[in-house]
Symmetry: C2
Subunit: 200 residues, 2 copies
Amino acid sequence: MMRKGELTRQAILERAVRLASRVGLQGLTIGGLAEELQLSKSGLFAHFRSKSSLEVEVLEAATTLFTEGVIRPALARPRGEPRIRALFERWLDWARSAAHEGGCIFVAAAAELDDAPGPARDKLVQGQKDWLDCIAQTARTAINEGHFRPDADVEQFASELHGVMLACHHASRLMRDSKAEARARRTFESLLNLYRTPKQ
Amino acid sequence: MMRKGELTRQAILERAVRLASRVGLQGLTIGGLAEELQLSKSGLFAHFRSKSSLEVEVLEAATTLFTEGVIRPALARPRGEPRIRALFERWLDWARSAAHEGGCIFVAAAAELDDAPGPARDKLVQGQKDWLDCIAQTARTAINEGHFRPDADVEQFASELHGVMLACHHASRLMRDSKAEARARRTFESLLNLYRTPKQ
DNA sequence: GCGAAAAAAGAACGACCGTTCTATTATTCT
DNA sequence: AGAATAATAGAACGGTCGTTCTTTTTTCGC
């Protein structure tokens, strides 16, 4: 006895994620979103009991998109370095397609929410933590496969890889630097070199 | 014939930079700023002809602060690696003190303005470009001093260093990770190792 | 197809936004 | 000191925000 509702709700969230990528979670407005979807403000609002609840659900929807588009395909690749490369390439894809819209929604949200306690911040932090843990775990697997050196600090690796992507995002989004992705790839290769098992 | 005005104007901008660090340039509001300074909304507004003009001036003021607090002291150190280390340490100081408030205002502004054409975005882009150029130029000096390998790509170096700071900011601000700075230092050291003249 | 229940629309609210205009108070110059 | 001018305050504007309430329309089980 609840079908149509869930359908439009899904449509709303899809549009909301894209809109929030452009204008941020703060800039995401009930009225604006309603107009884009040709809905009434109150009709849309009824699906979420409050604005902050909408924000949380937008973050949830974006996380699902990221998991399906980046993590899942990479997990299909063989363990070790190939999987790490796949993770990185898919991540670049994500950033590139996000760049065509308003940039990565997580980067925008991180800047907005870093000092705004509440459920939205909690959601974002948990998602980012999960993602960094995922990278670290993948690196751990690479150690076990003998691809990474046994003494590699996998959390350090995750943090450094994150930095590579953040720099790439900044350069391509704000600075409109067309060489951003090439530079990120280059940094990634030298990063791999550092963590790889040294050839004897 | 204009003294008192310039004084309060300065005081306004100082407060505005701090406030914008917390809530962003969008979240920075004329009324809120006026209340913090115990000024009337219109009295404050009169100093800037518009909100967007205020945003530009806030970015200008923050840039001056950054130049005086980070770049200038580092330029006092000897050329080459010492100057690069000073740049990095001062930059960490900046990020740390910014972290006690609402984070680095440039990081927040970058996320907000990356898809919002206008004078504020132009100002930010120019400032960031100048900063990255400054890093690259410092690296170039390090090459000339024989500290960096002659074939080092100084722009690549600047981009990688930027990534280290962005990751550090993200980890410390959003994730409240107390190990963020230590990790950034570690990444910085291995980054230096890559660009340093190899010992024979 | 009818009646119950869900979904959407409509109108209104108080609050705050940037901005303008006018009036009042401070400052500065001569 | 007093006139000229700059700085600040006050009140009001149209607009948009999130939210609530009431009403109409649509959906769905029987």
